[in-house]
Symmetry: C2
Subunit: 408 residues, 2 copies
């Protein structure tokens, strides 16, 4: 089964005209252009022979009704404001093209291919809203407080999109045997290593923290160093030591960031009495995340003590790591090798709808290279040859899966 490159590229280009902004697109979830794109997609899926509709969450779901079992393929067509033309759209149009291949070539081992574009993966109102409702998760309390940047509630956005009362689409674990999602990498690793296919082993866990060091504001000229309680010096020592500790304790794929630092009162000649840092780290392993958290606590204690300061360390955000199904990872690697293009096994540092699906059915993600590692920006792009190669490798992996879906 071969995808048809010109059809794939033409659909991607056509979708990118909806909400076009400079060289990118502007289709925040539930915006007029987002809903236009979803209607367009529904019609395209219908034309490909699927039973397609938009559900009451805004998800576009196309079902290959003649099959009792199917692989689910998709991603999301909503974007960040002034985002790139590929991002999640890539994975959705892969699904559309593959559905056409199935329609033209017949089911594989009796198995069909369903396509989905989840709503609001980007969190315009509530991140992963579409995939979480699709998986029947209870989001009631989160929906109640979800608002866009202009203050609009998610409820109003749903009403405004005219989808209130549409029938819901739901994951069916008897039917949906696996989920495959393609996405641009959003980072530089594939490009830097000259690899064309990334296969995601896990979507990393994230822990974010705020740490505040407390000292005493003193005159920076008249107070000898030994008599200070310097919250700022403690914070600087902490930030520097954290990097050293994480380098030695983390995995080769651990990443971390000190994103923000604030000193108070903030004058050149006053010893800071408060210094705040916001930092985070990510890894696919819970053990590593725990180890880094312990190191942060211990380092904070050492640095506070060295400068007679105290500290509060608060975890402000946490997301558990999500492993992709190892059998599916292997199938993508096998398909890539068969196309004579080795795949790079890598974690995804960013979140995706596959995080939700992986809790319920075997899930896999394939990455294609981002030029310059760019994403969430109008300059985001991927070479057409890479887009085409990625689609073929994923289709081949899906076909391998369909031939023996029940193997462990």
């Amino acid at each position: 089964m071969r995808i048809r490159p010109e059809r794939l590229i033409a659909d991607l280009r056509e979708l990118a005209t909806i909400g076009k902004f400079e060289t990118g697109v502007d289709r925040p979830a539930f915006s007029r252009d987002d809903m236009r794109a979803r209607t367009w997609l529904r019609d395209k899926l219908g034309a490909a022979g699927l039973s397609a509709r938009i559900d009451d969450a805004g998800n576009v779901y196309g079902q290959m009704t003649k099959a009792a079992r199917a692989v689910l393929v998709g991603s999301h067509t909503d974007t960040v404001p002034k985002g790139g033309w590929l991002d999640g759209a890539l994975g959705v149009i892969y699904g559309l093209e593959m559905a056409r291949c199935f329609a033209e070539n017949g089911l594989v081992n009796g198995m069909g291919l369903d396509v989905i574009s989840f709503q609001d993966e980007e969190g315009t109102y509530l991140s992963l809203y579409g995939s979480r409702t699709f998986c029947d998760e209870d989001v009631t309390s989160e929906v109640a407080v979800a608002r866009g940047q202009d203050g609009t509630t998610l409820d109003d956005a749903i009403n405004g999109a005219g989808i209130r009362g549409n029938a819901p689409c739901r994951l069916d674990r008897q039917r949906h045997l696996a989920y495959f999602e393609a996405h641009i990498e959003q980072g530089p690793r594939l490009e830097t290593t000259g690899t064309k296919i990334g296969v995601v082993t896990a979507i990393v866990g994230i822990r974010s923290y705020r740490i505040a060091f407390h000292g005493q504001a003193d005159h920076a000229g008249t107070t000898p160093m030994a008599m200070r309680r310097d919250a700022g010096a403690a914070a600087l020592a902490f930030g520097a030591a954290l990097a050293e500790k994480f380098r030695s304790l983390g995995s080769p794929e651990s990443v971390w960031n000190v994103g923000s630092v604030t000193f108070r009162p903030g004058a050149a000649n006053v010893v800071p009495d408060e210094a705040q840092l916001v930092f985070q780290f990510r890894d696919s392993s819970l053990d590593i995340l725990d180890r880094l958290e312990q190191a942060a606590h211990a380092t904070a204690g050492e640095c506070a003590s060295a400068y007679s300061a105290t500290f509060d360390l608060t975890r402000i955000f946490e997301k558990q790591p999500t492993a992709m199904a190892s059998r599916l990872v292997g199938l993508i690697e096998q398909a890539a090798a068969a196309s004579a293009t080795p795949a790079l096994a890598m974690p995804s540092g960013a979140g995706h709808d596959a995080m939700t699906l992986a809790k319920y059915i075997p899930s896999a993600m394939l990455f294609v290279p981002s030029i310059g590692g760019r994403s969430h920006h109008v300059s985001e792009d991927t070479a057409e040859s890479d887009i085409i190669l990625g689609a073929q490798v994923m289709l081949d992996a899906i076909a391998l899966f369909a031939r023996s879906p029940d193997r462990a």
Copy 2:
């Protein structure tokens, strides 16, 4: 010659009623209360037998006209907003009390004692304005741009104070053989060491810098550590390394401070593309100041390079160190020893009018302890017994000087 403690304390307390704010005073230069205090002082100096007036800069100068040569004693009566009751007022009222002692006991070796309260030491409009005009420094260009926080120009403040056209008072190097200034310490060293008298060896030099590290804003989840240009990590490493370097390269009396840190864009999940620190250091030795500056440059280069960042280091403020006259330092130590209270030789970490005077005539400063090291705050205070002891020791030192003013 003995000062009269009850008279000294009564005058300090009376002056503190002018512009009283809570337990402190609020007498910014040229304010109504500042000028009321200056008029009060002029009259007190007149009552003590001095020829006293307010000059066209707002300086209050009392001259012991019967002497051809005199020691100049004083400080400033203006305060920071909502400041303490002692600060510079202490040194001025010491001068008033000593002038009365001279009036009652006669000149010492034919030498008199003149008293001064300089205007705007605190920089409400222009720091050290009064002492600099008194020493005939050209401040024209600085006056032209000097404004208070409410936007009032220094010229308007002078007009508003009703002193425009008053005769100037000037330093007379034939007459004024030495300058003695008492001040509260504004730091904790005397209290912490249980010392009652501080003798200032030098007013430290200050150098302040802004350093900006420049990197690249990247997704903190998808960009591997080795591919980042992390301005924030470079800044944290710099801040921590600076403390280490300064500790090993500075003198035991060097002090430094990183007062402010700013990361941009400042989000937890974005690698900072710009990180700014404002830092300063102080020491009495030009060599040490140069050595610390070189260390800052070298450290910045190392840290920028370690994180593939670049940097700009800009000196934003500089003040040269000012040595006090060593003979006068010795006389204060001798007088303190004679009062059975050892003096602690120490640098002044803050600036004073003596910085200006020391350029032209031998100058000395005596510190009394600040309770809790506090200053520039309504809670500023000094034990009455320490105020009294400080006045007597300084008077004794001045008498020692007057007996042999010309010795090297």
